[in-house]
Symmetry: D2
Subunit: 316 residues, 4 copies
């Protein structure tokens, strides 16, 4: 599996839970199979969408092992190695590699207050300790740091980083990163994490996307990718517009936390499609219910998912 050439749709897989709060392994197997069957090009476990911050090390291992076993080599499996600082991240990398992932994804340090030089050394240390390629995860809304294009391309050129998952929301910065990477011979594989501007990001040169919403409509993202690959940009835009309308599910839980409203909405829409058994969230986040869940279901139905997908789920 040549990760240097990974391109396309790489969903960040949600972590289903039983009502007791344990990892729901059968549901995780089912959603993993569904994603691969829908035509995605890779899967990313233990990301923010996978509620990685809430999982114990044992739960993380269980998630990774379940997905690696289910994917069975059909596509690459990337795993988040999320912890406070270098030495702790390295331990997460070790565990993920032992569980069989093809690449790991690491952020800058969390809680620590570091400068750019320290962050660069951090990535060097993580990569030096990793037997698989390392992607940088740029997610300032959680890490409170924006990774600079200069730093990323330099680490790409030196072989430290294999790529970047950009969830910064800074599309001007992403275009600068794409340009700087191209000028350097494209050492980095560049993925955007923003699921509603994929058409524009692919047009400007992204190698792919890590769309949380693909948990809800993987086939839609696969179509969007194919149209972009074919140069059918207006077709890509139309598919993206449909997916952007579906993305409104994450704005229904007004007043709830970001994790509850976002991943919580994905889980409700997935549960309604039969992709997972329940919409339980990791403690202390409570699942979306009642009127909010009904609005999410209505939006999902309006996107054309509840008929066909229910049937598809029944077949699996």
């Amino acid at each position: 599996m040549t990760l240097a050439r990974l391109r396309g749709i790489v969903p960040p897989v949600v972590t289903p839970f039983t009502s007791e709060g344990d990892v729901d392994v059968p549901s995780l197997e089912r959603v993993t199979d569904h994603l691969v069957a829908s035509g995605v090009h890779g899967v990313f476990v233990l990301g923010s969408t996978g509620e990685v911050a809430y999982l114990t090390d044992d739960q993380r291992d269980l998630v990774v092992r379940t997905v690696v076993r289910t994917v069975a080599g059909r596509v690459p499996v990337l795993a988040g190695a999320i912890d406070l600082t270098s030495a702790r991240v390295v331990e997460q990398v070790r565990r993920a590699v032992a569980a069989g992932v093809d690449a790991v994804v690491a952020t800058a340090p969390v809680y620590a207050i570091n400068d750019a030089a320290e962050i660069e050394d951090h990535f060097r240390a993580v990569a030096a300790a990793s037997e698989v390629p390392v992607f940088a995860y740029d997610i300032p809304v959680r890490v409170k740091v924006k990774l600079g294009a200069d730093l990323l391309v330099r680490l790409g050129t030196e072989g430290v980083l294999a790529g970047v998952k950009d969830s910064s929301g800074d599309d001007v910065g992403f275009r600068r990163l794409v340009a700087a990477n191209a000028a350097a011979g494209s050492p980095l594989t560049l993925f955007t994490g923003h699921e509603v501007v994929v058409d524009g990001m692919l047009l400007l040169g992204a190698d792919g996307v890590v769309p949380g919403l693909a948990n809800v409509d993987a086939a839609g993202y696969a179509r969007l990718w194919e149209r972009a690959e074919a140069g059918d940009w207006e077709g890509a835009r139309a598919e993206q517009d449909r997916l952007a309308a579906l993305f409104e599910i994450v704005f229904q839980a007004a007043g709830r936390s970001g994790d509850a409203a976002g991943v919580g909405a994905f889980k409700v829409a997935m549960q309604r499609q039969g992709l997972i058994d329940g919409a339980t969230m990791a403690f202390p986040v409570r699942a979306l219910e009642g009127e909010v869940a009904e609005r999410i279901e209505a939006i999902t139905r309006a996107a054309g998912l509840l008929g066909a997908a229910e049937a598809a789920a029944a077949v699996l």
Copy 2:
């Protein structure tokens, strides 16, 4: 002039200064003529690129009157009405309208600490007092508030706002705004202020763009617009890539303020092309000089501007 149908490239015109710090009227006439001759679809004076915050009321009047006189009805002229709060903004609107502008552009209150309901009332009051259409100017980096899509579309539907200039850098939010506006029957004309993602923004449905960089390369943005209008998205992307490379001029003055590095770079690149006489900035900002200015000149030359544009400027 039907502003409701304004589409295309609407550059925010820089304000040239003499070395004594006065508005350089001949240079302002020259750059205005150059922009219109290059095929832009409107001009926007007294924006952030126009250093509006630094200008006295008399200087603002002089800028507006000069540009209105020079444009002479060939394209619409929009003017920023920038002040702290409603009553003061209304006075700015009155002056701009008296000077002959076709529309005004207003932000949410500055310095005041208001909530969404107060901001909505602010826009209602400004529009009620204006004889010309009002655009909302969404620029959180300066105003420290992000205008919500709900508020904007509601004010559009009610006829309060004619459009939005979005300089928020939040492209996910911009797509939501485009979708919500379309669902409401497109009451708002929607412009992005981000000059390096214009291809993607036009693909997703923007009505146009207000690119500061068009002061440096207006013809490039005109070509980008034409390609997008023709559905030649890869041609648009190629032109945008060239312009994005040119935009690197604003990243040369490391350690200088945002206003010095950005508008300062535009002015150096314009001065080198003969579009304005000098690169002087409004007090207390000092012009870019020396090695930084040389790097800006080199980037401008690499973008193919210094040969052809110098010739074009000589003809004017």
Copy 3:
């Protein structure tokens, strides 16, 4: 009037409005007289508490002239000179000086994006154009910039700044400023704007305080000052504790904007004491009413103000 020696309590005077939104001159005269009679050592008009951002230039002139006339030289009058950038601030200074103020208070530029060197030049230009002493107003919650102790003490030593009104909420920074100022021979007069930590700020060396809450209980702050001057720190603490309990009025309007909740609460508590005729706020802010106003009244009564103060007001 030797401003270099100004010490003590200098309330930022609220601007009362009629129900039509005009400056309520009789109420402004009444509250000004009440403040001076209560033993304050100066008054500060056109500050944030005075809703300066919302006032037109004509309204600002009216406020300054009314207060200067009413104070009649009994204590110094300071005025905020609040506008976007240097040239516009200088015009505000000119108007305030013409109206008779003893000193002006200016912030760093607003809306503009400047660095420390530009901010320093800004203060130099404002001071060069002012016939009265200039205080720097450090209020990052509105201006989005924190003024550094180095810059302030340097400008004090050079005679550019006479003092600082620190509303930054950064008490560690304020102690550093006090220490740096003392080490430089105390060129600056240093006031804190934080009305609930005055005991500690006076203990550490502040020259005085600009407490918005003194509009509601001026006599309380005068007592607090006298106890601190007498070295009765536990007495000062007890008075401050009482005032801090009164300050809870600003936390009653949950969900309302900062300006509505804060200044709005002061106005309700003042209106209940008969110090001003109505609690009207500047457009677009709506006055606090109903249950929120009742809670504010109850807290004011619990602080012992409504009996005695009503009687005092009746005497004026």
Copy 4:
């Protein structure tokens, strides 16, 4: 050991490292002994000053066991239980309790994006799993959340929280917390983390302080405490002024990260006093050296520490 009555000086102990990056146990024993001998009332390990974010679980265990063994019951030992979210924090609590600490200190979740209700449930879960009292650690500069006084006092009243370490820098908020706690019968023990405003914080009612700078001058903080206890507020202020001048060591490494400049300066000043063998920081932070270290040494000497402390260290 009755933690409910803990009052006084509780330094956050630095974690010394060997030049190879291992925990330097002899140095840690020495500094711990020095702190207790200097008259502090408790010690806090695995805080931000202890570089907790950078330590592996094994290193954390080693630190706690070393300090607990060295303290030998002379004062209480508190330990930070710092990890991303509830389940992981509970595991940290379990380890710290097994190592013998008297109380644990936990933040709100990190990396996760939670609302107030979720944060409240988080603290309930942590406390329910802890055999020792739990303090909330309010440090927004790292956790990016400010804990509200209402939430804290409610959890105190219910017996969930034993106290709060407030490193928020929001002294207005701290006074509100002190007042709300007093009104509820003082269920919480309230410590400030801000080492340069201790006089004012004790005056307003803090139960104690967690001063990182006490690693450098523990005896100074012990004297400050005794003077405040004796009601000698001007004596307390004088001692605090001396300590504030010493605190300038953390501002010497301009351009370095917060962790490097702050904890790095403490370590240099401690090494110069012989309290620890070296100033090595946790990877990827590099120790302060050269001219910066010389300035730190000079400030430490000016504070009167290098003569006496060297002698004291020689005695140990």
